[in-house]
Assembly symmetry: C2
Homo-oligomer: 638 residues x 2
Amino acid sequence: MAMVDATEVDHLAAERAAAQFDVEEMKVAWAGSRHAVEIADRMARLVASDPVFRKDTRTMLSRKDLFKDTLRKAAHAWKRIVELRLTEEEANLLRLYVDQPGYVDLHWGMFVPAIKGQGTEEQQQKWLPLAYKFQIIGCYAQTELGHGSNVQGLETTAMFDPKTDEFVIHSPTLTSSKWWPGGLGKASTHAVVYARLITEGKDYGIHGFIVQLRSLEDHSPLPGVTLGDIGGKFGSGAYNSMDNGVLRFDHVRIPRDQMLMRLSQVTREGKYVHSNVPKQLLYGTMVFVRQSIVADASKALSRAVCIAVRYSAIRKQFGAQVGGPETQVLNYKTQQSRLFPLLASAYAFRFVGDWLKWLYTDVTQKLEAKDFSTLQEVHACTAGLKAVTTSATSDAIEECRKLCGGHGYLNSSGLPELFTVYVPACTYEGDNVVLLLQVAKILMKTVSQLTSGKPPVGTMAYMGNAQHLMQCRCAVSTGFFERSPDVVEAAVAHIQLLLLLMCTYGVRFIEKLQQDIPGHGVKEQLQNLCNVYALYLLHKHLGDFLVTGCITPKQGALASEQLGKLYAQVRPNAVALVDAFNYTDHYLGSALGRYDGNVYPALYEEAWKDPLNETVVPEGYHEYLRPLLKQQLKLSRL
Amino acid sequence: MAMVDATEVDHLAAERAAAQFDVEEMKVAWAGSRHAVEIADRMARLVASDPVFRKDTRTMLSRKDLFKDTLRKAAHAWKRIVELRLTEEEANLLRLYVDQPGYVDLHWGMFVPAIKGQGTEEQQQKWLPLAYKFQIIGCYAQTELGHGSNVQGLETTAMFDPKTDEFVIHSPTLTSSKWWPGGLGKASTHAVVYARLITEGKDYGIHGFIVQLRSLEDHSPLPGVTLGDIGGKFGSGAYNSMDNGVLRFDHVRIPRDQMLMRLSQVTREGKYVHSNVPKQLLYGTMVFVRQSIVADASKALSRAVCIAVRYSAIRKQFGAQVGGPETQVLNYKTQQSRLFPLLASAYAFRFVGDWLKWLYTDVTQKLEAKDFSTLQEVHACTAGLKAVTTSATSDAIEECRKLCGGHGYLNSSGLPELFTVYVPACTYEGDNVVLLLQVAKILMKTVSQLTSGKPPVGTMAYMGNAQHLMQCRCAVSTGFFERSPDVVEAAVAHIQLLLLLMCTYGVRFIEKLQQDIPGHGVKEQLQNLCNVYALYLLHKHLGDFLVTGCITPKQGALASEQLGKLYAQVRPNAVALVDAFNYTDHYLGSALGRYDGNVYPALYEEAWKDPLNETVVPEGYHEYLRPLLKQQLKLSRL
């Protein structure tokens, strides 16, 4: 059944030849530097060539086999990282290309940073070496069955017992069960557990505690600890490789020094005392996590766009006349008008990610110098960009799937798994609507302070110039929560303006760094995509622009017209623009998105791998089909 | 672990007590009649009480077990239908509540109607009794690997051989493989196969042929027939219960009389002749299929809305003050502004479905009287409504999932499966974008004929009154396909107008039939939902209304304000409005959507069913976790 030809014909060669820019230089612009291209390329190939990292049958595995496969891949990745003495940068890329969520993500991404950010020097010296060598596996146990976004409402308790110098960790209700933490269900030996600190009869609110969950000898849960997986999640494969867990405590005792004590402490006598470390330092971690989520958005979106663009260049449908040659789907204006804005968005999010990384460095330095002046504005930026880019990306992946027609619905297209593994980003690390409400609150506050002579800073500076914005105050007066649907729309608009600025800024940014963007045509292509992105947003939110009188109906129509012209300019470059992402066929994991465009033999070959095809006559024929066909159902017991 | 309390406390009792209308009468309005409520109720309970129809672990089954489970349920359903001598109406409802896609859907929904619509009297007499008794199982093999929407581009050939009086069915290329037909992969014994009819050296285009695929003795594929399943699809459970298949023919011979000959025939000598049956009769089937898709949209949407509304009434988050009691999520304006328009849409689609059913009856009668005058307009209605309602429904199910926060991502919420099983409706039976382009074409044609004195009919009559529409002609002149993104938007607008009219019409319709809508407050609630739906569309498409000068910015703002007031009126009735759908907990299949609102114990209980929880220490611990934790990875072979 091996019908994929070995002759390596490039079915997209004509598309590639038509590109009006230097793809190799665009790869540099996309990756950020020549070094970044080289290292990503090397790690991607390392993963793609290793049979342990195969993922072509991942969506067909049972939950147990999928989880076992994840444990295997994680161990193998760690083995390779150690053997090859990979740098941290290389190791992160290797894990990225393994492309399978697992406990290590939480160990490195949440457990270690929590100890670094909230642990004292002493605690860091004790716990970090254990974590760095994987002598312990940690996770981040915050969310509960009954409480997600409202962290202050968590119910788990940590009661200090001065008699034994211990905290007693307890789950007083069913809804206080820890629920969702990744890596918790089956893999972790330890967790940072968030609980209400109670000492001397007083509730001091939510604090973090390092709690051992499982025996380091045989991995069995410790006494008083109930552990399990919370069950299957959206999609096949996808996030089901992760053991999101449930955890209940029945009066579990931990030493006092396992409370994370960088910001506040409980003394031997049970006194609650604050340290001199300012609370605001914790925001740094949040900004870091959210900026990496924005970077991930551009990765996920660019993968989906890459698949949809390549397949749209291969797929043909209808033609000028019945029976005549058919037209590439990529030539249809309806296809272009849905697909090219997503291509532009992938590039836009990529550059915004770079800017956010810079913002993180900047705010970290300021926080260390105890300068908290930009904190609120940075919070609005990262929270808003997290919300807008993750929502746009999940919608866009699903749109790309639809743009691939029926075949996009097959797991072998790679798109169903890409969507289902990505979409929780809209909910975790701050639900998008809750985040936008926070952004809106900061916006309203900024607007209301305009008259008080306090000029807005950073990305909100533009408001200082817009005197008519002060009219907004009357709207605000009707009550913030009554108007919340409207202010959420305002927050989205603000963030999209930011995205636009940063998109332009991104192009300028590279230019500034390198005098001029090198490579034939690269700058022109980026400028084109930037314009597509801007006009697409204008078209999408036309109503808001018109209702505020920012533009006239005639200008709106003109923008749509211009958009059509821009699509025509993107068209010959579309395939090369997705080639510039430099993704291996392994990483894409899509029969439709293959580099060589040899789509149909690949789809055909993938089909036969399904376990249902192990036999020609299906299991169940003798029990359930034959009696039906032979009119003998009455005799059979079903 | 059985933590769902048996005391049957109704956690939503207060919500139900607050409703301002008679729920039992609303059930009648929703179902269409008292008889419809009774019969649906009886069938739903029949299914829910039968252990064979359990589906609570469906998303955990391997593909093979899921398929076997589907064969079992299909056979059991048929057994019950025969034993209980169910009417066709009852049998259809029973299959609906079994709620698992399978070969029987295609057998009854496509194979039988194809023979009825395209077979001669003689052919019907031969084949239908076999199909009615399940002595054969049939499917509908049209789509190919390389051809979907463009039916005229299909490549499979049916060459007439006058020597043997047979057709030779053949797949000349890889892309000509039949690909997607449901029930084809494993279950069907026969198919209606669409192929290019070639006789006397001439290609007469696409025709249907009844082809036996498998032996009726042992179910093995007949000589020259290659059969298989096309592999896993989006989601767990969901559409993976269906054996969408691949089929290749290697010169398979069938008797001449297995060409479906109602419209045209091939004589013994190989002459191609038309019958006197007009081709337009085939449209009746298409209208029928599409009207049932619109009816399904309201079912799927109402299930999702029912889950999201009930859980939003249970779930609490944040409160007026930190540490104080938390607020029901359903009270938040942002939640209402996202959820209530979807509730209104479910009702709107329900009434439009009724109207389309009437339209089908009407057009069938006209076609039989050879009156083809309304055909084009009916086509535009059904194609457009199919496109708009299926797109809106898939988006809405996913929105409902997000409105349930993190828990919506769990399979036990029921929403992931509901989404993935529903979303192919956007692609099958006419890709939505292709359909909207067809509607747009008819709209443009209608507009261009306005000056010629040919008045538009039926649902397009409103155009006759709009003189300024004639200005559109200049836009049309720039080339239809160049403007296709714009005209698609125009088509969507037209269909939404239709939906609005029909929504109002639906309310009026019941009123007309029954003098007055009976039941305390029922009419008021329906009128409210109708207004929500209208203003929501206005708000969503504000830009289009403003750019055409239909409304002023001030009116737009007023509409948004009014919408907020309407939400406040819907709020106390929301739970009762979804209760009126009368869905059993079995049919909903959601821990979040339970009638009694006892959500958290149910989520907790579902989690432990996951196969990963069979052992506390996971499989793979000794191979992949222990060596890692014990720093012995180098010694182990992974």
